[in-house]
Symmetry: C2
Subunit: 325 residues, 2 copies
Amino acid sequence: MKSFNEIIQLISSEIDQINWSKEPHKLYEPIGYVLSMGGKRIRPALTLMACNLFQDNVQPAVNAALGLEIFHNFSLLHDDIMDRAEVRRGKPTVHKKWDDNTAILTGDVMQIAAYQFIAKTPIQYLKPVLDLFSQTATEICEGQQYDVDFERRENVKEEDYLEMIRLKTAVLLGCALKIGAWIGDATDEDAQLLYDFGINIGLAFQLKDDLLDVYGDETTFGKKIGGDILCNKKTLLLIHALRLAKGNEALELQKWIGTSDKNLSKDKIQAITSLYNRLGIKTICEDKMRYFYTKAIANLEKVSVSGNKKQELRNLADKLMFRND
Amino acid sequence: MKSFNEIIQLISSEIDQINWSKEPHKLYEPIGYVLSMGGKRIRPALTLMACNLFQDNVQPAVNAALGLEIFHNFSLLHDDIMDRAEVRRGKPTVHKKWDDNTAILTGDVMQIAAYQFIAKTPIQYLKPVLDLFSQTATEICEGQQYDVDFERRENVKEEDYLEMIRLKTAVLLGCALKIGAWIGDATDEDAQLLYDFGINIGLAFQLKDDLLDVYGDETTFGKKIGGDILCNKKTLLLIHALRLAKGNEALELQKWIGTSDKNLSKDKIQAITSLYNRLGIKTICEDKMRYFYTKAIANLEKVSVSGNKKQELRNLADKLMFRND
C-alpha cells in the first residue's frame, strides 16, 4: 500500500516528466504553465488509490491518472475563458497571460493529450475506460452549460443545483476512482461503489467550496472571499436564501443582487453574508455537505477490501471536507 | 462497390440520424446546426471509399467516418472563433448566431463526441485507429497555431507554408483514408499508400482553395473572393509574390499590404491580383498544385487493388482539383 504522500509524489514526478517544450511553442508552452501550477492532484490520486486497494502495482493506472489530470486542467482553462477569470491558483489565467485564442487552441490540444494518455491504458481495460472517460467528459460540459444557464434562470431549485454540480464536479471524481478500480482488477460491484463514493464526495466537496467562498479565510483559500456573492452565483447558499428570505429580508436580498457597483463590493459581501447568517443558511449547507459525506463513507465501507486498506481514502475524504483551502 | 453518390447518401443519412435534441439544449443545438449545414463530407467519404476498396461492407467504418466529420466540423467551429469569421457555408457561424462561450463549449463537446464515434470502431482495430486519430487531431491544432503564427512572422517560406497546410488540412484526409483502409483489412502498405494519397491530395486541395480565393467565381465559391488578400494571409500566392516582386512592384505590394482601409478593399484586391498576374504567380501555384496531384495519383496507382475499384477515388481527386467551389 502506498501512502497518500507517496501517491502524490509519484503523480508529480510523472507530470514533471511530460515534455511540453515542443513546437509550435505557443501551443504547448501554456500546457506546461498550467500543469506546473500544481493544484491538489485529487483526481489522479483517486485513480491510483482506487487501483492500490486491489493491487500493489499502480503503474498500469498511471497513464489514465495523468489523462484525467490533464483533462481536468483543460476544463478549468476553457471555463476560465468563459468566466473571464483572471487568476487561477494565484497566477494569471492562460487567456490573461497569453490571449483568448491561445487559451482556446491550447485547451483543444490538451483535451486530445488527455485522450492520448487514456489510450495508453492496458488494452484489456481500454474500451470501458475510454467510454467512461468520454461519458464523464461530456457530462462535465453539460454541467458547465447548466452553470451558465442558471446565471440567467430564475427559480433554480436545490435539486437543479445538485444535479449541476454532480455533472460539473462530482462525476470526474467518480470516474477517476472507477477507472483506477477497473485497472486494479476490482469487481464491477466494487468499482461502482467507488464511483458512488466519488459522486458523494464530489458533491460534498463542491458544497464545501461554496461555503469556503463565503466563510473561508482569504489567506488560505487562494481565491477572493465573496466571489460567488459578487456575481450572484446561484450556489446552494443563495438558492436557500432566496427560498427563505421573506418580507424585508427578501427585499434586501433582491436589492443587493441588483447591485453591481464595484465600490459597493465589500458592502454587498457583508450584507449578504449577514443575511445568510440570520437565515441559518450556513447550517443548512453544512448539513447537506455532511449528508453527502456520510453517504460517501457508507459507499466506501461496502467496498470488499479490508478496512485498513481504505484508511488513506477515508483520510483524503476527511481532508477534503475539513479543509480551509 | 458503392458509387460516390451512394457513399455520400449513406453518410448524410447517418448524420441526420444522430440525435442532438438533448438537454442542455444550448449545448447541443449548435451541433445540429453545424452538421446540417452540409459541406462536402469529403473526410467520411474517403474513409468509406478506402474501406470499400478492400471489402464490400463499409458498415464497420461508418462510426469512424462520422467521428472524423464531427471532428472536422469542431475544428472549423473553433477556428471560426479565432478568426472572427462571421459566415461559414453561407450561414452565420456559431459564435455569431449564439456567442463565443457557446461556440467554445459546444466545440469541446463535439470533440468528445468525435472520440465517442471513433471508439465504436470494431475492437480489433480500435487502438491504432484511436492513436492515429489523436495524432492527427494534435497535428491539426499545430497547423492552426502555425497559421496564426505566420500572420505575424516575416519571411514565411514555401516549405513552411506547405508544412502548415499539411498539418492543418492534409493529415485529416490521410487519416480518413488510412482508418478506412485498416477497417477494410488492408495491408499496412496499402493503408500507408492511401495515407500518402490523402496527404498529397490535401496539399493540392488547399492550394486549389488558395487559388479560388483569388481567381474563383463568387457565386459558386460560397465565400467572398479576395478574403485572403484583404487579411494579408501568407498563402503560397503571397509568399511567391513577396519573393518575386522587385523594385516598384515590391513597393506597390508593401503599400497594399499596409492598407487596411475598408473603403479600399476592392482596389486592394484588384491591385494585388493584377500584381500576381504580372509576376506569373497563378502559374507557379497551379504547377505546385499539379505536382501534388500527380504524386497523389501515383500513390493511388500503387495500391494493390484492381484499377476499376480505384476509379471513384480518382474521380473524387479530379473533382477536388477541377472544382469551382
